[in-house]
């Protein structure tokens, strides 16, 4: 998804003054410590995202679930830290109830702490809603794709909830079957009511991503706009719009949107994207500092982003392969191995990259456009 080959672009006219201010703010705050970095985004009345966030905040006191929901919604590592503290407090007060164990398993899974998630899942009965799906997700993250598929299909046969279809759709998309994935996403949408507009927006986003990966940028944008209509103000959707605007050559609009998203989320991945699109190599340092701060808190969750950011740079960071090896050890799946293969390519070790790609093709159903691209660059013939 991240375009490694993208060269520098000219800075968008008109964005420079605002961007200097943003940069100043970033630098000042990062130096001062881990404090809020960017000014708040300009708003035009409360968006769906704002309304939901406010609703969560009104209930958040002493409720680990809401703290977790907030963190999941904002993607902010400070919020995750607050959620973790809330979960720990609840465990201390209530002991290991099934609810808390499942919540902690979800939390750890989200932060890619797979072993910790599995420890809690092991003591929960499979009949508890959410447990079987999370076990299948765990299998997916460990590269046990057949187990994951069986788990997803079983959940669909039992309850057929929207998220069951969405999980299967993602696996189908990673297996290269975009048509089946889109059908499954469409089935997921059929299960969603207007009381669940964020879920609907999320699925629309996925359908857009399917189009994006196939290079159908206009179709992707149509899905993203649909998602934005369904659930307004969500940075995750806006970031994808910014990304596809860049692909469509609407660089100025893309930069402007990225600036607002970066101001709201302080997400190093987006700072990095902005740096590339705006041709601002100096921003890479900002992204690095933000990445380092995240890595210090939750290394398992941050490491993949750091690798992708590094791969998108013109020159490899010295510890790139080391990072990618660690990531592959943490999550021994095709995606991590592919990142490692890309890292080998980046440092010129084509033989190691070929071995890894060969392993992915022979042992997994993973057939993504990213894999095809790495195979091409590594000189591996296309998979049959």
């Amino acid at each position: 998804m991240v375009n490694e080959g993208a060269g520098r672009r000219g800075r968008g006219a008109g964005g420079g003054r605002r961007w200097r201010f943003v940069l100043f703010a970033v630098a000042a705050v990062v130096i001062a410590g881990f404090l809020p970095i960017f000014p708040a985004a300009k708003k035009h009345g409360p968006t769906d995202y704002d309304v939901e966030l406010r609703s969560i905040d009104s209930k958040i006191a002493a409720k680990p679930l809401y703290a977790y929901q907030r963190a999941s919604l904002t993607g902010d590592f400070d919020d995750f830290r607050a959620a973790e503290r809330a979960i720990d407090d609840a465990f201390a007060k209530q002991g290991p109830t099934a609810d808390l164990l499942l919540l902690r398993a979800q939390f750890n899974f989200k932060l890619h702490r797979l072993d910790a998630a599995e420890r809690d899942l092991n003591v929960l009965e499979a009949e508890i809603p959410g447990v079987a799906a999370l076990r299948a997700d765990l299998a997916f993250q460990r590269g046990q794709y057949d187990d994951a598929r069986r788990g997803y299909e079983r959940e669909i046969s039992i309850a057929g909830k929207w998220d069951d279809y969405a999980r299967l759709a993602y696996l189908q998309s990673r297996s290269g079957d975009f048509a089946a994935a889109d059908r499954s996403y469409a089935q997921a949408e059929e299960q969603i009511s207007v009381k669940e507009m964020r879920s609907y927006a999320w699925v629309e986003l996925q359908r857009g991503l399917l189009q994006f990966e196939q290079g159908h940028y206009d179709a992707a944008l149509a899905h993203y706009h649909r998602a934005e209509k369904a659930y307004s103000g969500y940075w995750l959707i806006e970031e994808h719009i910014a990304e596809v605007l860049d692909k469509l050559g609407k660089t100025k609009e893309s930069i402007a949107l990225y600036e607002t998203i970066v101001a709201r989320t302080h997400n190093p991945e987006y700072v990095n994207a902005l740096a590339r699109i705006a041709g601002r190599a100096d921003l890479f340092a900002v992204a690095d500092r933000l990445n380092a701060a995240r890595f210090a808190i939750y290394p398992e969750a941050a490491i993949g982003h750091m690798i992708r950011d590094a791969l998108a740079r013109p020159l490899p960071r010295p510890d790139l392969v080391q990072l990618a090896q660690r990531n592959a050890a943490l999550r021994p799946n095709a995606e991590s191995k592919l990142l490692l293969a890309r890292s080998y390519l980046k440092v010129g070790d084509n033989a190691a990259a070929r071995r890894l790609v060969d392993e992915i093709v022979k042992t997994t159903p993973w057939r993504t456009p990213e894999l095809a691209e790495v195979m091409r660059r590594a000189g591996v013939p296309p998979a049959g």
Partner: protein, 547 residues
């Protein structure tokens, strides 16, 4: 990696809408769980009876009630409700002796159901709190009207028939000791803070179902120090850790030798409002052959808009040019936005409601068992469930000195027993399924026609309110608002032939205070209140004004 982030966001827990109601609440809208709010999709009751006033011919009243969300008299505009109606002749079922006979019956009903093409009264509402009502598929003709809410209205069908309609808020017509029912089935979420995501075993705890308190059942026995525990507006406790079972071997008795009733007889629904769709129609509007089709089968359904429809209704930002609008107009000429099937395709079914207690008692409120009339596929499950309930209620009935139809092998106390196979449970439940349910007197049959009494198997399958237009519509020949259906449901476990002091029981035996006064039990009260908290109206819309 962004993909991974997005996938991880899939795990954001989404709170689903729902209240504890009397029956058939799929768990996703069942607010008895501590983390589920009340939902407009939660259907409460389906009433149906022939009008007493015959001066305008045979007329049937159908009333579907549901949660008053956002408030009584104001509907959730994302919802669609429909009352489905199919009239057919009365059928007398032959005697059945075996599970094969029962399953054949279920199969035959299933085939019959599939041939039905039920008519419907469909209701949606608009933000200005008007109701859009459609009468579809009735022999008297389809029509659609936008009407005011909270008013008793008179409409005219295309064939000139007078139809009464009320859409809006009313007093909750269900009068019932719901906490008592949940105590009888040891239903955790009524008394404890149980979340929807909690293990299934935290719902109906693995304690015998019972009408009498079990000695040492500290998880559910009445706590005099906390009289509002588990009652509306009262307390809920944290479910204590450890095994939620019962190790005792007898019913609890006080010093006077009296058993303790799990019911209080108090109305837990008093002072509550509901929203409702109430319609009164002539039988000759419902069927083209009113002399032949004397049974009006009806059930209710709630739907919520699918998200995709909401997206379609959000207008695009740029205003259309003059020529664009002309083109839109031309296109719309060939598109029917009024197509009922297209409208329904924009919604998803959430809840169904037919026979009272059919689902709370027999379907265990499973989301995937919201099959409405088409619950035939659950016939085996019903046998299994009935067997499970029988091991709880049967010994309770026997301990009180009454006779039960359930074969519990003279067990002195309720037993927690589950079945995997219907054939295993069937010998125990056979008598209950096939016995004739006696009525207390002949008032149900005002014309003194040769109408056979009902048997439980034909009440619960299919899950419809089957209104016999030649009766007064009292349950199980329909359901009148004044029927104490919860207590009548319990009567199904009595031995109707000779279970009441050697004499036949009736569906009203357990509603008789004199019976309870004579039994070794405290409190000496029928399980549920005899009357609603507000008197019902004698004229349309029949259900009392809201509080």
């Amino acid at each position: 990696m962004k993909r991974a982030l997005i996938v991880s966001l899939l795990c954001i827990a989404a709170a689903l809408p729902g209240r504890a109601a009397d029956h058939n609440d799929p768990n996703s809208v069942n607010s008895i769980f501590s983390d589920i709010p009340v939902s407009a999709a939660d259907l409460y009751d389906m009433f149906g009876w022939p009008t007493d006033d015959k001066s305008r011919g045979d007329r049937v009243v159908l009333a579907l009630t549901f949660a008053s969300v956002p408030k009584a008299g104001v509907f959730d505009h994302d919802m669609l409700y429909r009352i489905r109606v199919h009239a057919d002749p009365r059928v007398v079922h032959p005697n059945m002796l075996s599970i094969e006979d029962f399953l054949k019956y279920a199969d035959a009903v299933g085939r019959k159901y599939l041939q039905w093409n039920p008519a419907e009264v469909r209701v949606t509402t608009t933000p200005d709190n008007k109701a859009h009502v459609r009468f579809l598929g009735f022999p008297g003709g389809d029509f659609t009207q936008t009407v005011e809410m909270n008013k008793a209205l008179t409409l005219r069908s295309p064939d000139g028939k007078v139809i009464n309609l009320f859409i809006g808020g009313r007093d909750d017509a269900f009068f019932n000791d719901l906490p008592g029912f949940f105590r009888s089935i040891n239903y955790g979420p009524q008394y404890y803070k149980v979340k929807l995501s909690a293990p299934y075993d935290d719902r109906e705890l693995k304690i015998p179902k019972t009408l009498l308190e079990l000695e040492g059942n500290t998880l559910f026995n009445d706590d005099p120090k906390d009289p509002n525990w588990g009652r509306p507006g009262g307390t809920k406790r944290a479910l204590p850790p450890g095994a939620h079972t019962w190790k005792g071997n007898r019913f609890l008795k006080d010093a006077n030798g009296n058993y303790h009733f799990v019911y209080s007889g108090k109305d837990a629904q008093a002072g509550r409002n509901i929203n409702a769709v109430i319609v009164e129609m002539p039988l000759d509007y419902v069927t083209s052959n009113p002399q032949r089709d004397r049974i009006v089968n009806s059930w209710g359904e709630s739907f919520v808009l699918k998200a995709s429809h909401k997206i379609a209704t959000i207008p695009d930002e740029p205003p259309r040019s003059f020529f664009g609008r002309i083109a839109d107009w031309f296109t719309n000429l060939f598109t029917s936005e009024d197509d009922p099937a297209a409208e329904l395709a924009k919604y998803k079914l959430v809840d169904t409601d037919g026979v009272p207690f059919a689902d709370a008692a027999l379907s265990e409120r499973h989301d995937e068992r919201q099959l409405g009339a088409n619950n035939i596929s659950l016939a085996r499950q019903f046998v299994i469930r009935f067997g499970h309930l029988g091991w709880g209620f049967g010994p309770s009935v026997s301990a009180l000195g009454l006779g039960t139809c359930f074969d519990h092998s003279n067990s002195p106390v309720s037993v927690y027993k589950t079945y995997a196979l219907a054939t295993e449970a069937f010998p125990r439940v056979k008598k209950c399924f096939f016995q004739t349910l006696n009525m207390p007197d002949n008032s149900w049959n005002p014309k003194h026609l040769n109408i056979p009494l009902k048997k439980p198997f034909e009440i619960f399958i299919p899950n419809v309110e089957a209104i016999d237009m030649d009766t007064n519509g009292t349950w199980p020949f329909g359901r009148r608002p004044e029927d104490q259906v919860a207590t009548r449901f319990l009567s199904i476990f009595l031995d109707m032939k000779s279970g009441c002091f050697g004499k036949p029981c009736t569906l009203e035996t357990l509603n008789d205070p004199a019976v309870w006064a004579s039994l070794p039990i405290v409190p000496k009260t029928p399980p549920n209140p005899a009357h609603n908290d507000k008197p019902f109206l004698k004229t349309f819309p029949y259900l009392a004004d809201p509080w």
